[in-house]
């Protein structure tokens, strides 16, 4: 029955462009798909792996730049650039993950931040490679045969399809034994070690997978924007992702999915300037950490414990 509801929901999502929404709102829909993938990636790494990663946007941005450069410098077809975009992102993720996780998850957080800021600076300043602040314009659009996915309404379908596959993969990992072991590592890393669980390997898997999906998403998005410039690495993405995961609940697949959609659509409805939006997000983060640090997920855990205690009394 639940599976049936899911199918209906997916069909409805595919039918969205047929509702006659404006180009603006279809772009919002495309962005919502992207954020769903990015924030679920962060959810996997943080909510399951216990690693606060501030470099998800960097994987996305590296994917975008890799795809753009391959298409423009080497003339590759857009579809062909996507796997490489993902690969570049994975290598970056595994690199910093391996270097920092041998020390601690705290150094991973710091290293991920430093990487994010560094790549931003490099994208802006390494003009000979990245064309600097003006970016790489004139990217080709995605096409299959004669069908060109140029408009937002058209582009929505490949983006949605990718997002659904990516989310399905992440969901499956979370539900599997891999997800359970990640949770164990997150809750008590030392205990997991004494049980023979290779924490580093599992965490690298989570990082690699989320980097791969973010990188491919970034590459896809590049061919929607048809221009890639340093703004694709903006800290704004990280800040939004954090809000989506913290409010949705770290470790909660549906919570984060809903939060991703809500926090993409609602700010557009409210027409807040991006600075005010970030001030608000920052204030929400501070407030949440003071009052409800475990998020809604933490409340659920406490509630479950209460139910069990009552049941067993």
């Amino acid at each position: 029955m639940r599976f049936g509801a899911l199918l209906v929901g997916i069909a409805a999502l595919y039918a969205l462009p047929l509702c006659g929404l404006s180009e603006y709102w279809m772009t919002v829909a495309v962005t919502a798909c992207a954020f769903a993938v990015l924030s679920q990636g962060l959810n996997l790494v943080y909510g399951y792996g216990g690693l606060l990663s501030l470099a998800q946007v960097t994987f996305w941005g590296l994917g975008a730049y890799a795809a753009a450069l391959l298409a423009m410098e080497l003339g590759w077809s857009p579809w062909a650039t996507l796997p490489v975009a993902g690969l570049v992102a994975v290598l970056a993720g595994l690199g910093v993950g391996y270097a920092s996780l041998r020390l601690s998850r705290h150094s991973f957080a710091i290293v991920s931040l430093v990487l994010a800021l560094l790549v931003q600076l490099v994208a802006r300043d390494w003009q000979s490679l990245t064309r600097g602040p003006l970016g790489i314009p004139g990217l080709p659009t995605l096409r299959i045969g004669d069908v060109e996915f140029a408009s937002a309404a058209r582009f929505y379908w490949p983006m949605l399809s990718f997002a659904l596959v990516a989310l399905a993969v992440i969901w499956r990992v979370m539900r599997s034994r891999i997800g359970r072991l990640l949770l164990a590592i997150r809750q008590n890393e030392a205990l997991a070690g004494s049980h023979g669980i290779d924490a580093l390997a599992h965490r690298l898997l989570a990082i690699g997978l989320s980097a791969l999906l973010s990188g491919v998403a970034g590459g896809l998005f590049a061919f929607k924007l048809t221009i890639v410039d340093p703004s694709v690495l903006d800290f704004y993405y990280t800040e939004s992702m954090l809000i989506m995961v913290i409010i949705g609940g770290p470790g909660s697949f549906w919570g984060v999915t809903i939060a991703a959609v809500v926090f993409t659509v609602v700010p557009e409805l409210l027409r807040l300037s991006s600075e005010l939006r970030m001030v608000l997000y920052g204030a929400v983060l501070v407030g949440a950490m003071m009052v409800m640090p475990a998020g809604f997920g933490g409340l659920v855990v406490r509630y479950r414990e209460k139910r069990w205690r009552a049941r067993l009394a």
Binding site: H106, L117, L285, V286, P293
Partner: protein, 291 residues
């Protein structure tokens, strides 16, 4: 490539390195005493610069008055920061304090962007662009004074940590928290002062460097990310290590940037950090404190 040019690079590197040191040492101190990595550190530096901009350009306060006032303001902000936000966090999960300080940084940076816009602004001190020729190096007065302020900050921090009772307490807590508690050190007081000192140093650094470069609300993150790398390189809990690493980084960055490329200069911090993590994970001067 004249000797004068190289010497100029060296001096500029020392100036920047000295301020990297002040920020990194503040970070290290706050971490050592509270076990919190302050992700808003760069934004406090930015606030110091903004305050100096307002004081000099709009309130027409003199250069010296401004720097002193801004530093004191920093201490007050630090007190408030600890009182309102950090006090209850000590000992709690690392992620919680990370997200809290990150959120605060977001509020400060974007609030400043909203109010002042991203347009870079120049601080017009009474010294303007006039400079002095020392040995073979042409130094603007503001850059020379910045170096003086950095020295003041470093000496002041040294005196605090090594010549006062409370500074000794800070070092004790940073090195071995349980032992310090047993001998009767009150962590609250120590923590409050450590935060005040760290933030005051951020404000002072921002104010001193504001006339040397330009002021823009995004200057905080870009400057601070070097400080995070430095703390990893120097080793968590090693305040002296942070200073050494910072000065070295400043000089190397200046030399690389002046002779090769600016992009490579920015990358030095990152590459050094990764190398340290791969080969000496506890840091070059790490005390063996694993976080």
């Amino acid at each position: 490539m004249t000797f004068g040019y190289l010497l100029t690079l060296l001096v500029n590197g020392l100036v920047i390195g000295a301020f990297y040191a002040l920020l990194a040492m503040g970070l290290s101190l706050i971490f050592g005493v509270l076990e919190i990595v302050n992700f808003a550190h760069g934004e406090f530096y930015m606030l110091g610069a903004l305050a100096a901009l307002l004081a000099i350009n709009y309130l027409h306060l003199g250069y010296w008055t401004t720097i002193v006032t801004v530093t004191l303001a920093g201490a007050c902000v630090g007190w408030l920061f600890h009182r309102a936000l950090l006090g209850g966090l000590a000992g709690h999960s690392f992620e919680r304090s990370l997200l809290l300080t990150l959120g605060l940084g977001m509020v400060l940076q974007n609030g400043a962007l909203y109010i002042f816009t991203a347009t870079p602004q120049i601080v017009r001190t009474q010294f303007g662009m006039s400079s002095i020729l020392l040995v073979d190096v042409r130094l603007t007065w503001v850059r020379l004074f910045a170096l003086v302020w950095a020295a003041v900050g470093l000496i002041g921090l040294y005196l605090l940590l090594y010549r006062t009772r409370i500074g000794q307490a800070m070092r004790a807590v940073a090195e071995n928290r349980e032992a310090a508690l047993i001998v009767g050190i009150r962590p609250e007081r120590v923590a409050r002062l450590a935060v005040m000192a760290g933030i005051a140093l951020c404000f002072m650094s921002g104010a001193a460097l504001a006339p040397v470069y330009v002021v823009t609300p995004t200057m905080g993150l870009i400057f601070a990310f070097k400080s995070f790398a430095i703390v990893v390189i120097g080793g968590f809990g090693s305040i002296g290590g942070a200073a050494l690493a910072a000065l070295s980084l400043g000089v190397i960055e200046a030399l690389v940037g002046g002779t090769m490329s600016l992009v490579l200069a920015d990358a030095v911090a990152f590459v050094a950090m990764i190398l340290v993590l791969l080969f000496r994970p506890l840091g070059l001067f790490g005390t063996g404190v694993r976080i």
